[in-house]
């Protein structure tokens, strides 16, 4: 029986954690298995949940969020028979042989939606709304900006952050206002990587008749015809795979990028009309070139700086 630990954002954040939940659901439905899960409420519960699940014999213990890396590193040696999976966190595989670190190349996926944004934009100005100014969000923003510039070197990118308290992830009203401010500055495509705040961004984009781009899960269905696409981060697949592997899970470090289909952009019936064949062709080409290594997308967190955007 596997276990899943969601990050503080909670199970139903409409993006990252929810994707993890969906993956687990799918696994449960397909295999008829059961899994335990917990929504963390405080920092100290990270280790606690790991330990309690490990003690209860649950295996593997899958976790979401970069903040789980350190707790897992602390706990894993105490439970050598349990496999731990950290999605987004990095735990040294040499030291901790029972840990699988799954990392996503969000910058690559963001690059692709950035291209879409630039192509869809008529004003040459696109926006980005982040939840909080943290490295992960900068990684999204940076990949996005590079994609935009790749299409239109003169394009302007307005990047905003919502706030500095945890409320920043759940403030759709502020998301709306940021979107409006960006629209008034000329943006006609906005990429929201801001949890619950993003709901407000997408809503406003739909209300104001511009495009928005969703994040993590496929959010195209929220406002068909307005959500240009979503930057997919296939946490669901990662969770599904980990749970399917069960106790035999192979540990180490997995980096899921475009090549592994770990990230991508969403194309479905809700946005089919928005993405022309030409746009799709260009993006697909860039995708394969990234996979081939012809294009390198800078990972902000690796360099702590971004060629296309200053923070």
């Amino acid at each position: 029986e596997p276990a899943l630990i969601y990050d503080l954002g909670g199970k139903f954040d409409k993006s990252f954690n929810e994707a993890a939940f969906n993956g687990a659901q799918r696994w449960a439905e397909e295999t008829g298995g059961e899994f335990r899960d917990i929504e963390l409420q405080s920092e100290a519960q990270r280790e606690q949940a790991l330990r309690r699940f490990a003690e209860a014999g649950l295996n593997p213990v899958v976790t979401t969020g970069f903040s789980m890396a350190t707790p897992i590193a602390n706990v894993a040696p105490d439970y050598p028979d349990t496999k731990f999976v950290t999605i987004d966190g990095y735990v040294d595989p040499e030291e901790h042989p029972n840990v699988l670190s799954i990392l996503f190349s969000e910058h690559e996926g963001s690059f692709l939606v950035g291209m879409l944004a630039a192509m869809a934009s008529e004003t040459g100005t696109v926006g980005f709304v982040g939840g909080m100014d943290i490295p992960l969000i900068r990684k999204f923003a940076c990949g996005y900006a590079q994609g935009v510039k790749a299409v239109d070197a003169d394009a302007e990118i307005i990047a905003n952050m919502t706030g500095t308290t945890p409320a920043a992830w759940n403030d759709p009203v502020k998301g709306s206002e940021l979107a409006k401010a960006q629209i008034s500055q000329g943006a006609d495509v906005i990429f929201a990587a801001a949890g619950g705040t993003g709901i407000g961004v997408l809503q406003t984009a739909a209300d104001e008749g511009i495009y928005s781009i969703g994040v993590d899960s496929n959010q195209n269905y929220l406002h068909p015809g307005s959500v240009l696409s979503s930057m997919l981060k296939r946490v669901d697949v990662a969770v599904y795979d980990a749970m399917s592997a069960g106790a035999d899970l192979e540990t180490g470090v997995q980096v899921l990028g475009l090549a592994e289909e770990g990230v991508g952009y969403a194309l479905d019936e809700h946005n089919a009309e928005l993405i022309s064949d030409e746009m799709q062709a260009q993006v697909e080409e860039a995708k394969s070139r990234i996979i081939d290594g012809e294009i390198t997308v800078t990972d902000y967190t690796a360099e702590d700086s971004c060629p296309a955007l200053t923070f």
């Binding site: 759940n170 009203v173 401010a181 619950g196 923070f311």
Partner: protein, 321 residues
């Protein structure tokens, strides 16, 4: 800042100020009657949820507004029960209400919609649409005044106008009606009200109920006016900012309007100008994020001075010790 940008910032100011204003006036009624209210946040949140939930289920935004207001009034009733009838500590009661709303909204939302403490997205008829005031289109091209009318004054949802009208109405009620006279009296000298043969308890409940209504509208505006649904904790501390605005305004309606517009304006500015580039140096986004709060402190310390709350505020009315 060019004219158009200024208009847009002011437009944003109006939207950001409205929930603050409604909550602030709610606090004003309550505190003018001698009942401190730090539960504004919770009441708004409960109203936001119930308005969205009922607007979604019933398909009518007005039903939503009604339900949101009812939820907010229910919390007001708890506050009244604790602090008027049972003479409990008004601060504790307010804290409890904030917790209660934060927890209940998500628990109920989860068992109702199973979308993780969120309501589904509202269809258009479940939302307050923006309304275009008469002649807005026609006057659009008149220089200066045209854009001001079209951009800034017209084109908000009806609750914004309700909020703005609530200011003169509050002033009028407080200073021109019998009810207002009694309300102000009960916050200053409840024993005078009592010996004049008026029920202190009744007046205070009335004030708290009005606070419930106004918070209800504020919450409904957030969820069904500005947004199309409820997200957990979506009030994001606005109740506390409203409280600050109330103290800032020294419990006066027109000043409350000023204070809320100021807070809204500072936020709008901070949202609009997040990355100020000073050539060699970009002002960090965190500085802009904190700017409204820093400026508030500066203004408070520099210009506002001492705020003296209603004399009987915070203390339960006890005749027989």
């Amino acid at each position: 800042m060019d004219f158009l940008t200024a208009l847009q910032v002011l437009d944003s100011t109006v939207r950001l100020s409205t929930p603050l204003l409604l909550a602030c006036l709610a606090g004003l009624f309550s505190e003018r009657s001698g009942i401190f209210d730090i539960g504004l946040e919770g009441k708004m949140l409960a109203a936001a949820f119930f308005s969205a939930a009922v607007a979604f289920t019933s398909g009518s935004v007005w039903m939503g507004l009604l339900a949101g207001t009812a939820a907010s009034i229910a919390l007001s009733a708890i506050h009244g029960f604790a602090s008027i009838t049972f003479r409990g500590n008004q601060l504790i009661s307010g804290v409890a209400i904030n917790f209660l709303a934060a927890g209940t909204t998500v628990v109920v939302a989860q068992s109702w919609f199973a979308q993780g403490g969120r309501t589904p997205s509202l269809p258009p008829e479940g939302r307050f649409q923006t309304i275009t005031l008469p002649f807005a289109e026609a006057l659009r091209d008149v220089p200066i005044a045209g854009p001001i009318y079209h951009e800034l004054i017209s084109g908000h949802s009806i609750l914004v106008y309700v909020g703005l009208l609530a200011v003169p109405l509050t002033w009028w009620v407080l200073f021109r009606t019998r009810f207002g006279l009694r309300l102000r009296a009960v916050g200053e000298a409840p024993e005078a009200v009592d010996t004049a043969g008026i029920s202190v308890v009744g007046l205070r409940y009335a004030a708290v109920a009005i606070a419930g209504v106004l918070c209800g509208i504020a919450g409904a505006y957030l969820a069904t006016g500005l947004q199309a649904g409820f997200v957990k904790d979506m009030t994001a501390g606005r109740g506390f900012i409203a409280l600050a605005a109330l103290i800032f305004s020294k419990w006066r309606p027109w000043h409350a309007l000023g204070a809320c517009l100021l807070f809204g304006f500072l936020q709008a500015i901070a949202l609009r100008y997040q990355n100020i580039d000073l050539g060699a140096f970009t002002v960090p986004v965190q500085v802009m994020d904190a700017a409204p709060y820093i400026l508030t402190v500066v203004i408070l310390a520099g210009f506002v001075g001492r705020a003296i709350p209603p004399r009987a505020g915070g203390e339960p009315y006890v005749k027989e010790r």
